[in-house]
Point group: C2
Chain length 205, copies 2
């Protein structure tokens, strides 16, 4: 994991790398991933050249900066799968993912689809998506979700959650919580129990 990169042979380089990553996390979280590279450099107390040497492209920086958040996502989904109660596992996963995304604006954008073609962790992302799908099917087959709920609906909800923009992070989190609760209700069977009969059809779709 902690391989010796060709550079980083010196201590100050390692320090700078860390300072850059921390600055990136802070700034991205606050203002989204669209901020100019130089602002991150300034915030890290570092020249632009140094920033570019460590992370030649913004995508590289984003990938490195959000590796931790990405792991947190996996952890959330895995813990959901580990929950013996499929319904509770599903619910808490959605809630926690929504909150995570609300807290970190930059990560939300990156996770959803900031860089069109492929962020470096696209593969990892797919793994998480697959787990999420398993989690969803498990909850559905246990009768905690309507029969017509599909894994893609969860993605839909997560994307929609990303649309919740607000001035303060606190307001974002609050809105996100409310939204998650609402969306989860939308996925549950009519009476909350299991398979209470035919699923009522909804207009369109």
């Amino acid at each position: 994991m902690t391989e010796v990169l060709p550079h980083l042979r010196r201590s100050d380089a390692r320090d700078n790398r860390e300072r850059i990553l921390e600055a990136a996390r802070t700034v991205f979280a606050a203002d989204g991933p669209a901020v100019p590279m130089r602002r991150i450099a300034r915030h890290a107390g570092v020249g632009p050249a140094t920033l570019y040497r460590h992370f030649p492209t913004k995508e590289a920086l984003v990938t490195a900066a959000f590796a931790g958040q990405m792991r947190a996502c996996y952890a959330i989904v895995d813990e959901g799968l580990a929950d013996p109660d499929p319904g509770r596992g599903f619910t808490s996963t959605i809630e926690r993912l929504c909150e995570l995304h609300a807290r970190d604006r930059g990560f939300a954008a990156a996770f959803t689809a900031e860089f069109p073609h492929a962020l470096d962790f696209t593969t990892d992302r797919e793994r998480a998506v697959k787990s999420l799908a398993r989690l969803t099917r498990r909850a559905r087959e246990a009768g905690h979700l309507r029969a017509d709920v599909e894994p893609s609906d969860v993605i839909l909800i997560l994307m929609a959650n990303g649309g919740l923009q607000a001035a303060s992070p606190a307001a974002r989190v609050k809105a996100s919580r409310r939204f998650a609760a609402l969306a989860i209700r939308g996925l549950r069977p009519p009476s909350g129990g299991r398979l209470p009969g035919a699923t009522r059809r909804t207009r369109g779709l």
Copy 2:
């Protein structure tokens, strides 16, 4: 309404104004309101100066370009209120608003909150929001929505709907439809009937 502006005394000026507006609608709808002014000018076959003469600021252009969409929004909400069935009126309003916003990316952004302080139709927007609130309360009091649903939840849903980004407009509309159906279910009382007893509590909030 069709007052004689100080300029526009000549026919070519009126023509250009129309061409600019049409170009703006097209480009904004396709790529959102962040596109450079010059691209709209080019698309309209007009020089930058002409564009700026007609619409000194991007906000002015957006306002003018989306006046029609804005009216469509009013119409949708008003028709919802005109529906004798409060539940159906509410449902179809949400569905139609979501679809409208999905079709026109630029308008969605503008309507929600593209320009922080005040788009020119902020007042109008507030009127629409008020009507939406009335529509919501009416549906709730008729027992078509859960007792704890608030008008702000509808705003929440519309904002969330704005987070549904997709490459093609068609995909956006499709996702938006699915999402609207899901969200509406999230607002309905457990068994779809009216006031079937105490509202089940949800974790948090």
